[in-house]
């Protein structure tokens, strides 16, 4: 019995290790994910609830809302993480609301067909046609097993080399998005979906860096951070004074998740947001219109120039308004950026909020 247990444990460990060797690419960024069904992690009901909640958040107009149980059944039938199946449905069709799924195929996964299979030809391409959303969901898990897992494609990287090949897609971006969505569902499931994905970014050797060096003395409003929340007038970051056109650098490695090249945007002006994984995001405001050199989904390294300083939106002069969020809450960037004497150690730094 002990021998059997030891053998099982070894074998399970081997599989976990294998599934953890994700693709690494896109400037050293990669994702290590368990794409197999997270056996023993939590109840099917808990997993289904998390998937339902996630679909309702990101696909409010989707007919797949409330079908979490089917995703779990499908994942179980194919031995595949049901969060992966839901993530593919979002990537390929925004949960059945867009793409060929919106043209009567009931195909939210972008599956192609051969002539002998039920299909619908749309703009010259033959797509699999299911009889219902339920059938499509229930079929996806076994399909992933049959066509990918049984071929040894048990990592996100290997799976998407074939599912979303580089010839058709930006595979590293595809992997990163799917991995981050699996993590969102994993967080909602509160442990029922196992550990989710570890996403690696090209980090700075020394960690976070100042996005611009800045000019001007501390007293004239080099930065301020106001902790009093909630407040509609919360100054939720630091202001770093710098001349127009000063290059703005990514404070650390990550993926660009929001870009607003133009517009007032509620006072933010031109801005962008970078997701650094582990719940960390950095936001850069008041940039030069159309100066953002990256697009949503781009993977950036720490120190990479991403835009230029300006005064767009609510701003009294050229400066960078720099924000760091941790788990969706504003945090003091000075607690992350390298120590600057006279600034980081100033006891009254949180009380200063000059009119920049």
């Amino acid at each position: 019995m002990l021998i059997l247990f030891a053998f099982t444990a070894y074998f399970a460990g081997f599989h976990r290790g294998e599934s953890g060797t994700g693709l690494t690419g896109g400037g050293g960024t990669g994702a290590n994910c368990n794409i197999l069904f997270p056996a023993g992690a939590g109840s099917d009901q808990e997993i289904a609830q998390a998937i339902n909640q996630w679909i309702a958040q990101h696909g409010p107009n989707s007919d797949l809302k409330g079908k979490g149980v089917l995703f779990v059944q499908s994942g179980r039938a194919g031995g595949v993480n049901p969060a992966l199946i839901a993530a593919i449905a979002r990537k390929e069709s925004t949960f059945g609301t867009q793409g060929i799924a919106a043209e009567g195929t009931f195909n939210p996964f972008g599956r192609k067909a051969i002539a002998s299979q039920p299909h619908k030809v749309i703009r010259g391409v033959m797509w699999y046609k299911f009889s219902s959303w339920d059938e499509a969901i229930l079929e996806e898990g076994p399909y992933l097993k049959r066509v990918y897992l049984d071929e040894g494609r048990t990592t996100l990287g290997k799976l998407f080399e074939k599912y979303a090949p580089p010839s058709e897609n930006d595979t590293p971006t595809y992997i990163k998005e799917v991995a981050s969505w699996i993590n969102e569902m994993t967080a909602l499931a509160g442990g029922a979906l196992g550990q989710g994905c570890t996403i690696q970014y090209a980090q700075n050797a020394e960690g976070w860096i100042w996005p611009v060096e800045g000019t001007g003395p501390f007293e004239s409003g080099f930065f301020c951070f106001q902790r009093s929340e909630p407040s509609p007038h919360l100054h939720n970051g630091i202001d770093i004074k710098a001349p127009n056109g000063t290059p703005v650098k990514a404070t650390n490695g990550g993926t660009v998740i929001k870009v607003a090249q133009t517009g007032h945007n509620g006072g933010n002006g031109t801005f962008l947001t970078i997701d650094h994984g582990d719940g960390m995001q950095s936001i850069y405001l008041h940039l030069v219109v159309n100066s953002i050199q990256v697009k949503v989904g781009d993977i950036v390294s720490g120190g990479e120039t991403v835009a230029q300083v300006d005064s767009t939106g609510y701003s009294g002069g050229p400066h960078l308004h720099f924000v760091i969020k941790k788990n969706d809450k504003y945090v003091d960037p000075l607690n992350y950026l390298p120590f600057k004497k006279g600034i980081s150690d100033n006891p009254i730094r949180n009380n200063l909020c000059d009119e920049i």
Binding site: Q98, G237, G313
Partner: protein, 354 residues
């Protein structure tokens, strides 16, 4: 023995009294429930972004339950007819008052649109950019609208569209009026206010209501302004929640949420009063008299939405009790003002008003 007899009489009397009280309570509950309006399902199918046709016979709507397209539901016989080609599902649909045209708000999904050949493909548009389109249901024609548009409404007469955008060269925010296809463009306002939302425009008296973001970054509330013709915008309400702002047809009143409480503003008197209804949701329909309104509200702690009929003059509010749990997404009042249609979990229901 005597005592026992007395006790049994007393007991019998108490029993009869209790029975009468009990019967009364039961009768009261039955009568009360009989008079409660019942929420009834209109159709079983998924209905998104519905509107009622002007002849009150049809519900026009969008659905992606099978082929994602516009459909028409005949209320009398539940007959459903597809009335457009297939589309990717938009984020929002803004129906024209005539119901013959609709503006579609679509988030540009570069990966899906370009991979699968969407009708919404626009070369050079950034991924996740907000785009607007005009769809003419009679001609079955889809036309792109200006890429700079940030918010858009139909003018009160339904003949024009009123849209806002930010001119980065001038660092000005602009509201324009044009024909629905974007031609015959005229500027209504151009200033430095950070305009976020166009709320209402009446061409007859050139009265415009719009919302501009309050000072602050990333966490915005809206300040509401009013302007007539080429005059200077007047601040009328401060720091309202961006969602759930509804002006009456004559643009004399406006309902909104301020600090989690429903408020009503008299725009001619520049006066805002609390309705003392805590809510994080506001869907409003104004009655034809421009004085009364019906709102659907919800507190975070409750599991169903609550309807109120409110008089904007007296602030008198009557809760419309109903049977059934609902989470309202769309609210429509029939022209005879007797039937309230709404969707809950993408299913269409109706509530017959007394």
């Amino acid at each position: 023995m005597l005592k026992s007899k007395f006790m049994s009489k007393k007991f019998l009397f108490a029993l009869i009294l209790l029975s009468i009280i009990g019967a009364g309570i039961i009768a009261f509950i039955i009568i009360k429930n009989r008079t409660l309006p019942i929420v009834s399902k209109v159709a079983d199918n998924q209905i998104l972004f519905p509107t009622l046709s002007n002849d009150q016979k049809y519900i026009f709507y969008f659905s992606n339950a099978n082929e994602a397209a516009f459909y028409r539901l005949e209320l009398q016989n539940q007959k459903i007819e597809k009335i457009s080609e297939d589309f990717d599902t938009p984020d929002r649909i803004i129906w024209s008052p005539s119901k013959n045209q609709a503006i579609l708000q679509v988030t540009y999904n570069k990966y899906i649109f370009e991979k699968y050949g969407s009708p919404f493909i626009r070369p050079g548009v950034d991924d996740q950019a907000i785009t607007f389109w005009l769809y003419d249901l009679n001609q079955k024609k889809l036309s792109p609208l200006d890429l700079n548009i940030r918010d858009i409404i139909w003018s009160k007469d339904g003949q024009k569209i009123v849209s806002s955008y930010y001119d980065e060269e001038l660092n000005h925010n602009i509201i324009n009026i044009s024909d629905p296809d974007g031609t015959n463009l005229e500027n209504l306002i151009k200033n430095e206010l950070p305009i976020e939302k166009v709320i209402s425009y009446e061409p007859a008296n050139k009265k415009l209501i719009f919302g501009a973001s309050t000072p602050g970054e990333l966490e915005s509330r809206l300040d509401i302004y009013q302007v007539i013709g080429s005059g200077t915008p007047t601040l009328i309400i401060e720091a309202v929640e961006p969602g759930g702002i509804y002006a009456s047809s004559n643009m004399e009143h406006l309902v909104s949420i301020i600090d989690g409480v429903l408020n009503i503003s008299n725009l001619t008197q520049n006066k805002t009063q609390s309705l003392k209804i805590k809510t994080n949701k506001n869907l409003t329909v104004w009655l034809n008299d421009n004085q009364n309104l019906i709102v659907a509200t919800r507190q975070e702690t409750t599991k169903t939405d609550t309807f109120y009929k409110i008089n904007s003059q007296t602030l008198k509010k009557n809760m419309i009790n109903h049977k059934g749990t609902v989470d309202i997404q769309n609210l429509i009042l029939s022209s005879d003002q007797k039937t309230l249609y709404f969707t809950s979990d993408d299913i269409l229901y109706k509530l017959e008003l007394k």
